[in-house]
Symmetry: C2
């Protein structure tokens, strides 16, 4: 503490010039002297999209306000500066300093990254937070991204999503056979192995495809985002729960050289603010989902219903097989898969007698 | 943004002297110039107590680090500067700048404050976060504390607690009758009306009272804290879920004049950091509870079991009656009770088809 007091006093007295590549002590001096960092942040979201897009706007606003303008982030919507799925590459090569997206978009390039967003039938919001911040998850994530010159931070979570909008009833696993459903990633792989046809569509084409019958079903996020997309006007059955994304975490990624150029206080501010955004975004989704669900429950044309338990159990077994195969083919995935599932198993026992047991008293 | 750039530049050039009562523009200048605030924070917790006490240590550490030492908080354990339950008064009268405790400790003085920690059978962690940050809860809280010269911030959450340690089985509501249980607050009132005898004991006396049979049962927090207290060595039955505290929020309270003296950037930092602590503390509890539960599950002398559903339903009805009576007798409680329960009802519908439905697929 003595050193910091001294450095602080020095800065006040001398107004020392900024020095972004300074040693730690000089960095603190730079911080005090008000060096300004102006960064660009590319994202995978439509600008200011409810939830996903607002989280990164809030991140930028908070960083600027709490740094008194010393860290300014200009946020770009998906496609404004780079395409939505090229955020990882753009930040990795240093074209921009920061990105906000979901790590499972890097499937095919860094398969193991999917554990840090969502694995079908995986961790929920609370369990992912515990794993990342206390269970060793963040250390594995940083090691995975190190070769790409990136520092990852957990920054947002939608909470448990919905199973999606269907124009066909799912009464047994046979009803999955031949089902044309817009569902990306590992969830799509699970659907394929269950006999369905996963289809990849950009967000802008989902509504029309569902309305015209080009697809039978689509998952998107949950009531908050789904209603704003109008999906309730193109399908009848709204299935729950969202087994494919059970508390997906978003990521803020920072180019390593940009990160290293920040003084220690701004580095701390970024870490703290990302964590605050994870809470805040989940709160926004809970609030927005509850409001939109009220609207849907009052709509006589919408049938909100659970997947049959045997369908979920069947999909869960397939999901685990697919993840095990991924781990068998990729040492990086194997290194994360084992601790992930061990941690999940330990957390499940605790969640069962705490959160789950309490929620069940409300419906019994 | 232009104004901030100008002010930032001015600060660097001139190293303007600190001025804690300045207007907003001068405040930003002060911020840049590195004025240091040294605050005291009194708490209700034993120093560095796992979870509750670590959260406020983490708060202080983060604020100092992210402010480059401009906001230093010295944390005092309960009783070190003021008694554990006099935190509210000490901060209110300005004896210290900050406090960390639970708002339901102010029962008797500000009954309505209990809504912001926990009401029996009330909101869970996610629902409380949504209500406080998006549902109007924070505005009600600030209005309630305004006459006490205090600014409240949600700052921590243990998650759903356990029902407690019992040396008698609870097989029906009749088993509550005559039960001597250490359980404070509204939970204690519920127990009394169900025929039990609630007993108030400081933490230091719980273990011996349970071991000697002076009490039949005690609630404390959850596996993480309970095991470190040794409660598993003094009782056989460990009941779940903790109906009395279903996601209790902790509070950081700041004396109004101290708050007003902070420049805008440090005010923002406090708000952001408190929100980060709410996530971080819940993550610490999830992690610690899961580890301690493993230990308890491996202990042949411990019987971990659920309360019978009919007991919980009975207690839930009593709890609602007690809160309704509190609201009938106290206009401040009435003003918060109505929106609280309306929000809870709306959230329950959403939680049921998202978080609860997903968790049930894991145990079906």
């Amino acid at each position: 503490m003595k050193r910091r007091e001294f450095v602080g006093g020095l800065a006040v007295a001398a107004g020392v010039a900024a020095c972004s590549k300074a040693d730690p002590e000089q960095k603190t001096v730079a911080a005090q002297a008000g060096e300004t960092f102006e960064w660009s942040c590319v994202t995978s979201w439509p600008p200011k999209f409810p939830g996903l897009g607002m989280a990164v706007e809030n991140l930028a606003e908070r960083l600027e306000r709490a740094s008194a303008g010393r860290l300014k982030i200009k946020v770009y919507g998906g496609g404004e500066l780079v395409p939505p799925f090229e955020v990882f590459d753009a930040v990795s090569r240093g074209a921009v300093e920061m990105g906000h997206d979901a790590s499972y978009y890097h499937r095919g390039k860094v398969d193991a990254a999917q554990f840090f967003t969502a694995i079908p039938f995986g961790m929920n919001y609370m369990e992912l937070n515990a794993w990342i911040h206390y269970g060793g998850g963040l250390e594995l994530w940083r090691e995975l991204y190190e070769p790409f010159n990136l520092m990852p931070f957990l920054c947002g979570n939608t909470g448990v999503q919905m199973g999606g909008w269907f124009n066909k009833q799912i009464n047994s696993i046979d009803d999955i056979k031949g089902l044309k459903m817009r569902i990306p990633g590992l969830g799509g792989e699970v659907l394929r192995r269950a006999g369905g046809t996963p289809i990849i569509l950009p967000g802008s084409e989902i509504f029309t495809s569902l309305q015209t019958g080009a697809i039978d079903a689509t998952e998107w996020v949950g009531p908050y985002n789904d209603v704003s997309f109008g999906l309730h006007k193109a399908a009848t059955y709204y299935y729950y729960p969202g087994w494919q994304e059970t508390g997906p975490g978003l990521e803020c990624i920072i180019n390593r050289e940009a990160w290293d150029s920040l003084p220690a206080d701004l580095q701390a501010l970024v870490e703290i603010t990302c964590q605050s955004i994870t809470l805040d975004m989940a709160a926004e989704y809970s609030h927005g989902n509850a409001n939109s669900l009220q609207q849907l429950m009052a709509d006589p044309n919408i049938d909100i219903r659970p997947f049959p338990a045997e369908v979920l159990q069947h999909l869960k077994i397939i999901a685990r097989e697919i993840v095990e195969e991924m781990a068998a083919n990729d040492p990086a995935a194997a290194k994360i898969s084992k601790p992930y599932y061990e941690y999940l198993e330990k957390m499940e026992a605790n969640t069962r007698i705490s959160e789950q047991a309490y929620l069940e008293t409300r419906t019994s």
